[in-house]
Symmetry: C2
DNA sequence: GATATTTAGTCCACAACATAGACTAAATGG
DNA sequence: CCATTTAGTCTATGTTGTGGACTAAATATC
């Protein structure tokens, strides 16, 4: 018989764990609300003023928060001292390998993007070792600049367009890049710990942490392959082995065109970038957008067909995973003006009678930065969730 | 900016919470492993022997565990005293309303099914208040019998075939019963707290806690409507508003037969009970099974068509939610012999090239009891997760 | 300008719960 | 019967939060 408690429930709690949790609680509230006084923290967390004072003292000593000036809530009384996240000690690096660029971002603990570097390159024609060597150079340059501005990089996450084995970091298959079985961490070897994660999942987390929407949504990303990241109550849904979110292979029509996955009628064959470019004889996405702007009938028809297919696949997804909102990113962000009405119409037609609310369709606010920001945000999130790892011993 | 920590991370931890967590840890390990000595508990949990002794003393005083005799692990040394879950103090009631029966189960803390009562009745032709009144009578009888055997019912959960508003217990729409907007808890009014939950989700939990498979699977249930319960790492996935798992409205063919949900080509129209009975002119499921056993060509063709549709829909589900195993329950458990090869074949054809492992298809081990057992199991699970609620004050 | 009032934050004795080592208890091997 | 091994209890101590007393810093009122 399986015991259905999560891993967190299987740990004994001692005094040190209690303190770690309360430190994380205080730091998390400060991070969530921008700044708080000790008195406000006491009210919000339920801990006594004494306890909050001690916890804040530890966080100040660790350089994770700073006192930022006095503030008064009421008309009279002693003014409180604002405590804010310090953006001047620790930072995280978000990295991204996509089809036609490499990207790195430096994000501080206050979630400010301090540095941005992007390098245009055709990653589909380069060998994986070449791509990763170029990324390593870009990242090392960023780290040097971080040291120059006084920030210590405590970790990084790399976004790649394909499923990833989270334990080993091996990219089993990235169709957008033409990669199979690439042992990314062995090749990357940066002077801080780096994990590898699927790009759609990280973009979803980017929208969550750097966007402004609600904490329950399905993020749709796509180039050749189409992936989805699902966030429910602020947490990423990964599935049993971490390979959830393969929206590109959801069935649009069971006897439709053959797909490279071996099935037929997958979403990718209707709405993937290759499908769109082939239908319009466009060279690349920019040319496709130019045709659409010019009102080219073939381009408009291809978008209409892609929009209907997206609507069908997304209606299946909504029935299965019940998101609150659908966010279109990747190529679909650029094509949003020509897709939105068709997709929204199809969702309303297929979902509108049974469901009390059809999830609204919105465009990504972060554009091509979403994945790299989500990557860096994951490291920031870990520091906030476990501040004791950052305390001096 | 949304702060993405779960609810549990937002609670301060004090001494009482620390004790509660450690009590839950000890009780959970005893529940998971059948019986343990204090010394073994100390080794497994990492708490000292002193701490474990005190925690076990509290649990004994609460009647949640008992000492069950001496046992020795090695060749010499003082024998240890086995501590086991007590099945003789608290119990939970699982209730179920399905199309053609009402069912109640009494389950003790050791997860033994102590009492079973099922009443055959056509719930589709009866009014909701009549159905719920009959269920109330059945449940009150079970409670009387529980008292007779010395068990105290601490709570219950009711399984219904349709989406449920978890906060209010209102059943918005149960197509299998013909119900809409039924305020079940107001009508039921039993002498213990009762929550209402979707039947497919509870059946999935039943397979998890009373079956013997791995803790990551998609459970497929079906009568007229087809629902799915998804369990990942021992936890039920519900979606943003609790309305995930609507497998019956996943698209099989976008321009297929119109569905009562307003869409076209939903799985329900191919593999739902009505679709199967209409295709074979069978009166009910038993007659359909008789036809299948006799080799009736129309019945076999209907199952083949249903199996292919299930395979298509399940391949979309696997791509999106990545389960380890697929469990067929409901009518599909009875039809398993005539469905399995087609479904398995379709899954292999659609998933076998890209995914390193195609999820195996298995039949439910619990049959029609799965939902009621899952319901009772949820109450049992809550007692184990929060034993301080059961301690004398 | 002085005093009363309000609110923030610190101080310190105490409580709750886990730890750690000493000790007792219960068994078997030699 | 004694030595050894292992389980479980006892008791002083340590860690971390609490709660009330107290100080500090502000404004309103006189």
């Amino acid at each position: 018989m399986t015991q259905p408690t999560g891993p967190a429930a299987k740990q004994a709690v001692r005094h040190d764990a209690m303190r770690a949790r309360n430190l994380a609680l205080v730091l998390g509230e400060v991070a969530a609300r921008g700044s708080l006084t000790r008195a406000a923290l006491s009210e919000i967390t339920g801990l006594t003023k004494t306890t909050v004072s001690k916890l804040v003292a530890d966080l100040i000593e660790a350089g994770l928060v700073v006192e930022a000036g006095t503030v008064r809530a009421g008309e009279r009384g002693r003014p409180g001292m604002e405590v804010r996240i310090s953006g001047e000690r620790v930072a995280a690096v978000g990295l991204e390998i996509n089809v036609d660029y490499l990207s790195v971002r430096l994000v501080d603990l206050a979630r400010s993007v301090r540095l941005r570097r992007t390098q245009a390159v055709d990653n589909r024609t380069a060998r994986p070792v070449e791509v990763i060597a170029a990324l390593r150079d870009l990242a090392l340059g960023l780290v040097d600049e971080a040291v120059d501005i006084g920030l210590q990089v405590v970790g990084g996450v790399l976004a790649v367009p394909g499923p990833v084995d989270l334990a080993t970091g091996v990219v089993h298959n990235a169709p957008n890049l033409g990669w199979r079985e690439v042992p990314v961490p062995e090749l990357l070897r940066l002077p801080f710990p780096v994990r590898v994660e699927n790009e759609a999942n990280l973009a979803a987390l980017g929208e969550l942490w750097f966007g402004s929407g609600p904490p329950d949504f399905l993020y749709v990303s796509g180039e050749i392959g189409i992936g989805a990241g699902l966030v429910v109550r602020g947490r990423l849904f990964r599935g049993a082995r971490g390979f959830a979110g393969e929206l590109g292979h959801v069935v649009v029509s069971p006897d439709g065109p053959p797909c490279r996955c071996g099935a037929r009628g997958c979403l990718e064959r209707y709405a993937g970038q290759d499908a769109l470019l082939t239908a319009t004889a466009a060279e690349d996405l920019t040319e496709l957008v130019t045709l659409l702007e010019a009102g080219d009938p073939r381009a408009l028809a291809a978008c209409e067909r892609a929009g209907r297919a997206l609507g069908v696949a997304l209606s299946s997804a909504v029935n299965l995973v019940d998101p609150d909102t659908i966010v279109l990113g990747g190529i679909f962000a650029r094509l949003f003006p020509w897709l939105a009405d068709t997709v929204t119409g199809m969702l309303a037609a297929r979902l509108g009678q049974m469901r009390s609310a059809v999830p609204p369709l919105v465009v990504s606010q972060l554009g091509t930065e979403a994945a790299a920001l989500g990557a860096a945000g994951q490291v920031i999130q870990q520091v906030i969730a476990d501040p004791t790892a950052s305390l001096p011993t």
